[in-house]
Symmetry: none
Subunit: 296 residues, 2 copies
């Protein structure tokens, strides 16, 4: 990584990179985060200011200065000076990785294109009525059940966890394990009325028979049902109150789940946005809890 004849007396920029690398293990937490971020984005740091950098990493401006000084360069000023020197216009070096990437192979390029198209499609749907309807159902229901099988089961579980941060009373429904005990009609006063609950069903090809069965059961019990699925799903619209279709063809070994995941992220976000305070209270609470449990 060292430059052949960079005989400048000043600490050069690549040296700085190495220095960051070396210093990283011994750094305090926040500074380490910052350092890591800088290291990863070292070639795109050019047009960041101290402030924006701090904001992006989530540390304070002062910390940026402190770290830089600890690393031997005179704050932001010095950093920019170094970079200027390194990438001085007369030199042939190419600073910005954003511009031209080292050729990635054709296949990956195509896959990337497909993924991006999928995202476009999903974000487009995020402005649609179907999406609003879906988010509204999930936000207004008394209780929400989330489920998904096979290759998206984990995604469904994660979605349930995240949705539970955005709104109360969310459960992952494991049709296999629990035999739907959750859905025995409430005999007494406890529990929500079925009409006030909503099922979020996540399903992709090859479709699980369970999904359709579950959807029908839900409907028969008067529950609401919304579906997030792939572009091939043919049955969802017959049983669901709202459907989102996330493209999954990408050309990889297995179908991509990026679309589904993105759609679900948006759904969670949308539901959070429909809470009274934009979900702010709940997420703050959650952060506190997470800290108390000493998860991190």
């Amino acid at each position: 990584m060292s430059e052949g004849f960079a005989s400048y007396p000043t600490v050069s920029f690549s040296e700085l990179a190495e220095k960051i690398d070396a210093a990283l293990p011994g750094l305090p937490t926040q500074e380490a985060r910052l350092a890591q971020f800088m290291l990863l984005n070292i070639d795109k740091l050019a047009l960041e200011t101290g402030r924006t950098l701090a904001a992006k990493v989530g540390v304070s401006e002062v910390t940026v200065g402190r770290l830089l000084r600890r690393l031997g360069c005179d704050g932001m000023r010095g950093l920019k000076a170094m970079m200027r020197e390194q990438y001085s216009l007369s030199a042939g070096a190419r600073p910005m990785a954003g511009g031209e990437a080292p050729a990635m192979n054709d296949r990956l390029e195509r896959v990337l294109g497909a993924e991006i198209d999928a995202l476009h499609s999903i974000f487009q749907q995020a402005g649609s009525n179907a999406f609003r309807e879906l988010a509204k159902r999930l936000a207004e229901a008394q209780g929400v059940y989330v489920t998904g099988f096979q290759s998206v089961r984990g995604i469904a579980e994660d979605c349930a966890r995240r949705l539970a941060i955005a709104r109360p009373n969310v459960r992952y429904l494991s049709a296999h394990d629990s035999m739907l005990a959750e859905w025995l009609l409430p005999s007494g006063e406890g529990g929500d009325r079925p009409e006030d609950t909503c099922l979020l069903l996540i399903d992709v090809v090859p479709y699980a028979r369970e999904s359709q069965d579950l959807a029908r059961i839900a409907r028969d019990q008067g529950r609401r049902c919304v579906v997030v699925t792939d572009e091939y799903c043919h049955w969802a619209k017959d049983v669901a109150d709202a459907v989102l279709h996330a493209p999954s063809r990408s050309g990889l070994f297995l179908e991509s789940t990026v679309g589904i995941v993105s759609a679900l992220n948006l759904v969670v976000d949308g539901v959070a946005g429909l809470q009274d305070d934009g979900g702010r209270q709940r997420i703050d609470q959650w952060k506190l809890m997470a800290r108390d449990v000493r998860l991190f």
Copy 2:
């Protein structure tokens, strides 16, 4: 990299380049020199100021200002703003700042942009040595353990399922539930030697203490360890044989998991590609099984 999908209205930077190009012939001498210079060094302009630029080209500062304004962007300020937009690293204005609630569409556009940037970053890494190393480790190990906690636990489980299609002997490791019984050193003949196994660790902020502990245990036992994480993780590179960093900032209610998922998709694909037959045999077999199961 192709500008193929410039379907969103970023007043982009490449547009400026074209504009310069078009305007060049009709420009006065000095401005033409300046324009020419900018065109040639367009990707290195980032850390120049109006003054340095003027100095390097040999024109006055005022001329720089004039030219820029003539080209339609508000002087140096505007230029930098453009570049920032173009090369912004996971920009996304404060998502939960409560204060400003930008129009849904605007916000979604930004989120989409961030997601796309994340994908670019990941696909770029997919051509890197780190990625090859990571895939190789996962492909060549006798046995693979996959794990992830909290908000990516489900993703990790899914990844284990999918990886198990790409190659044999993959298990999800649930450190909590099983108390690591899987990792008791094999007393007799059964089981793989630790050196022949590889741990795939998936972790995002807020990082789970367990992840780091687990990584260390793995290393102490002589196991291989590879990590897929977000852009902030500062501990991974100290304990892992290979690390992939997936940007997660998107501006949504919760951090985006799209990047991680995409990275894992690529990993599975990469591992499949390293199988003798590109994993074809295994996937065919799986499809058959899946179809059979679907019938009942």
